[in-house]
Amino acid sequence: MSAGRFSRWFDRKGWAGLIIGAPYVWLLVFFFLPFLIVLSISLSTNTPTAPPFSFGGEHPVINPSAYVRILTDSLYVRAFLTSLFNAGVAALLCLLVGYPMALGLTRVSTTWRNVFLMLVILPFWTSFLLRVYAWMGLMGKNSWFNGLLTDAWNILVPMDWAVKSVPMMHSNFAVVLVMVYTYLPFMILPLYASLERLDPVLDEAAMDLGSRPAQVFRDVTLPQSVPGIIAGGMLVFIPAAGELVIPTLVGNASQPMIGRLISDEFGQARDWPMASAIAVALLVLMVVPTMLYSHFQAKAEGSK
């Protein structure tokens, strides 16, 4: 009897509970709980113990000093600004390169479009680390690419400014360049998705009403692709701002980005509260606005 009751319960509710419950519990334990721990550590005091933090002493419950340091210490403020600047420039450049590429993709024949789309997606599947590494080879002092740039520079500028090689590595320029390279597909794909959806008849309607191609682009194509621009921008900006691999390999060590700082505070300085506080600040600054935006965006879409 009880077996029958169980199977009835399972058919109606139990199986649904299992399907929702398993991933729910997993994410709560392995994603949400760790984050709560980080959040609480960010409000603790750094001590020379193991693990290197404790609650108590001067600030028994909450010690906000890590957050105060983020706001006042120029090291952290500069790191945030550098991160935001590099990620912002990278996102903007990705847009400038990616938009015409995505638009071009919608204008070629179907066969070529499939080939080109595959070429855009292919880097996704190849190692991120190796794509960064590929640029290290190109930017190095003795590389053919650097040699090419050096020759071009020396031809263009007066003799006095001539250089032996272009100092590309270990600079913000290198960081932005590699970011654009590695994140460009993240910009092209959402842009392509939103451009491809547009009805070409609307272009014709605008032309029919007296718009030249450039005006058609400004009045019809561009405004309708704004969701794609925002999606692509966020997909580039957010991971770029928290990037650790790129600044470590090609960046300027004296101008660290946030990701590097979190890792250093945690590893070398063994200051867990500080590392946690920077992580929380990064999250509040970037991830929360994104999630709110996409939440309201989904709501607005739903009401249409």
């Binding site: 190849t126 190109l138 190095g140 390999l249």
Partner: protein, 279 residues
Amino acid sequence: MKRRSTFLMTVLGFGFAFLYIPILSMIVFSFNSSRLATVWGGFSTKWYASLFSNQKVIDALLLSLKIALVSSTIATILGTMAGIALARFTKFRGRVVFSGLVTAPLIMPEVITGISSLIFFIMLADWVGWPGARGFTTITLAHITFSMVFVSTIVNARMVQSDRAIEEAAMDLGSKPWQVLFDITLPVISPAILSGWLLAFTISLDDVVITSFTTGPGSTTLPLLIWSKVKLGVTPDINALATLMVLTVGAGVVAAGVIMFRAERRRLADERLAYRNND
């Protein structure tokens, strides 16, 4: 009216050059006989030979594959459940939190995920004595967590597209909901599950940041090995390793693309034929 703009086609050409020249250059220099990785000194395959005799590289590759296999499989099961739950159960307590949990890891900077996973494992060992040493287990757990949300995104997208009526038809014909899941839903979305698994596998195989936080002594995955060497600069044997990895993955993706393209063309041809024969 077909509008083909010279400007757009030029940008497209330069864009692809930008995307592929660095990789091609790396491949070319993997055959360089010179020790200086960026100066050409003649053709040679010696770096490949030294790669295959390097036990460290082989061990790291095996560990990476083991982690990727286990984590992507578990991530696919959990991610598929989450994707189905989000698409089919529109009303349950905590749904908002659940959908937040499923999207958050997608946009969470890897450093934060990595550091919070590490702190979690240290604290857990402190409280309950498990996991004793970090390595295969902790890396795998972390990989499952962040790759399952990619699977759930793909599955959810496919579920939203699929016709609800076929599931209702199965229930109408006497199937219980969980039978419908196995008889109808899973077969229909199986291509999405497969691509989810492939993505999870690749992400796991490729990950540096989260792995570097959750690993312990003696557990070096291939990306970690490359990471530690690359930090010191460009070397020809890494060029060779990179070439092998890029070509393997590239061949796989191209093959998958061609197979999918052929299947699609086949399906269209079949449909046309059926249409004509029934006319």
